[in-house]
């Protein structure tokens, strides 16, 4: 059996660990907001759109990460401008994703080394990561992390209620587009690690689990980051020892932790729920409108 120190003697393993760790941190942090803002579908779709960008870059003979960034950021701006309402936005996302996947198939068909490249874009190639990739990943993460810290409070505020935030002078429209661009950047660097199809394992998995375990925003983000790092490290380690795909191991860990938390969390959050003096445990939508006829 390989131990961590054996693995880290190899340059490609060092690259895998560094890039994997950076992505795990930034994807988990931004994932908290993706869930809060109801943008999981957008996150997933940006991966697909990135597929076209990566395939295009391969065709042109440049590093796929640049194609990923160009396509996902372009799509993020498009989605942000097109849709204000959730329904409207999801339709815009669907339409843009359709075009993206279509282009991706075309680019792959035009490229001769078809199957191998497609496989690595779809499922990630963490052990094929170069020093340049590590550098791009680190730079993109620093930019995303810095902006995220700067917009933290207004972003959280507008995620809860856009109208209230706007009344207080928060530029909600600008924030919503900027946030999608940040998600696009994180998706682009995550694709190399985990692949287009498994983008949720690092973007949504850790944050979804953390949001179930704590209701404090800062604590949820820290917990998501810790979970993300844990899945990535253990995933690489298990994969290296069994010759399994890394993506499979990380995805299984992410799912394996989420499932029991999801099933058990209603029990402990119910226990914490304080019964107020009014004594009503009903939600607003469950309360019967009393004396419906009595309106001014």
């Amino acid at each position: 059996m390989w131990n961590i120190f054996d693995l880290l003697q190899y340059q490609f393993m060092q690259n895998a660990f560094i890039a994997g760790s950076i992505v795990a941190i930034i994807a988990a942090a931004i994932g908290y907001f993706v869930i809060l803002r109801g943008l999981t579908f957008a996150g997933h779709s940006l991966g697909y759109i990135g597929f076209a960008g990566a395939a295009g870059a391969v065709l042109l003979g440049i590093d796929p990460v640049f194609g990923l960034l160009a396509f996902t950021i372009g799509a993020a701006i498009g989605i942000g401008i097109a849709g204000k309402e959730v329904r409207e936005r999801d339709i815009a996302i669907g339409i843009i994703t359709m075009l993206g996947l279509g282009l991706g198939v075309l680019f792959l068909a035009l490229y001769t080394g078809y199957a191998e490249q497609a496989y690595s874009i779809l499922f990630g190639t963490i052990v094929g990561i170069s020093r340049t990739d590590v550098l791009v990943t680190a730079l993109a993460s620093i930019v995303v992390g810095g902006i995220l810290l700067f917009i933290f409070r207004p972003l959280l505020f507008s995620s809860l209620d856009e109208e209230m935030a706007e009344a207080r002078g928060v530029p909600v429209r600008l924030l919503s587009i900027l946030f999608l661009v940040l998600v696009a950047m994180v998706v682009s660097i995550s694709v190399q690690i985990i692949g287009v199809l498994l983008i949720f394992t690092l973007l949504i998995g850790p944050a979804a689990t953390a949001s179930r375990l704590t209701h404090r925003p800062a604590r949820a983000i820290w917990l998501a980051v810790i979970l993300g790092l844990f899945y990535t490290w253990l995933g690489i380690f298990i994969a290296a020892n069994n010759n399994w795909p890394v993506s499979f191991c990380i995805a299984t860990l992410s799912f394996g932790v989420y499932l029991p938390v999801r099933l058990l969390s209603p029990y402990w959050s119910k226990r914490r729920r304080v019964v107020t003096n009014a004594g009503s445990l009903l939600k607003a939508d469950q309360q019967m409108p009393v004396e419906e006829a009595e309106k001014v």
Partner: protein
């Protein structure tokens, strides 16, 4: 010193998407006054609040809020938007929501501090929400969430409180709790309150004046002056009958 009014609208008209919403509106609301805004859906109640908040501009006329033209991010206005049911798995606590009222608009992450906590605790206490301060907001009842929205609106020490339908979706007992709370805030802080509602009855004991919007027109005065068959018939442009029975007021013949 003559006190400037809390709100002053002169000749205000606004159209949205080509549809006229309000026409030549004239209203003056004094500081510390409790005003209920009534009217059918689409009459411009929320539009009025948005103009006061600086989110919408009137096509003609002038608006002064506390002596100044409306602008976004005015800390002298506390605003609680129309309530929507929050998803139960939103990872935010009651005190996080209230904290947005204090510094949700500022850049950066902010640092937790004793002074910040004290201000938030004080606001939670004022709306009697201390017992569920650390509960996740998605698991609170409609009335509890409404209290938090009001606490959030009070954190900047506003002189004007705009509440958009705080009583909708609440049962009668919970409606009375909120009315009592808003009245207490209005009187003890001398804050002008503009409260949008569909039913005047739970508000009758506390309201100073009623602003009634319908059909692009508006009427303001005490409930006894405004909610009459004659005034509402003129406002709606169709026959409307106001019926008083068992200490309650009913409007018959028009959508409220």
């Amino acid at each position: 010193m003559v006190q400037e009014p809390a709100i002053e609208l002169e000749d205000v008209s606004i159209s949205l998407g080509g549809r006229p919403i309000l026409r030549d509106m004239h209203v003056t609301i004094e500081k510390g006054e409790f005003v209920v805004v009534l009217g059918p859906n689409g009459a411009g109640k929320s539009t009025l609040l948005k103009m006061l908040l600086g989110l919408l501009r009137p096509n003609t006329g002038t608006i002064h809020v506390l002596g100044r033209t409306p602008r976004r991010g005015n800390p002298s206005i506390g605003y609680a938007p129309q309530h929507r049911v929050l998803e139960s798995d939103v990872a935010l606590r009651a005190r996080d929501l209230v904290g947005f009222g204090l510094d949700g608009n500022r850049w950066g992450t902010g640092w937790p501090g004793r002074k910040r906590d004290a201000l938030i605790d004080q606001a939670l206490d004022e709306v009697q929400a201390t017992s569920f301060a650390d509960a996740p907001i998605g698991q609170l009842s409609g009335g509890e969430q409404q209290r938090l929205l009001i606490a959030q609106a009070l954190l900047t020490n506003p002189q004007l409180l705009l509440l958009d339908e705080p009583l909708s979706n609440l049962d009668i007992a919970r409606q009375q709790d909120i009315v009592e709370l808003v009245n207490q805030v209005c009187r003890s802080r001398n804050v002008a309150v503009l409260l949008v509602a569909h039913d005047i009855n739970p508000l009758m004991p506390v309201v100073d004046r009623v602003l009634y919007l319908a059909n692009g027109h508006s009427a303001i005065g005490t409930p006894a002056e405004v909610i009459t068959s004659a005034t509402l018939t003129k406002l709606y442009g169709t026959p409307v009958e106001v019926v008083r029975a068992m200490d309650r007021i009913f409007v018959v013949g028009a959508e409220v």
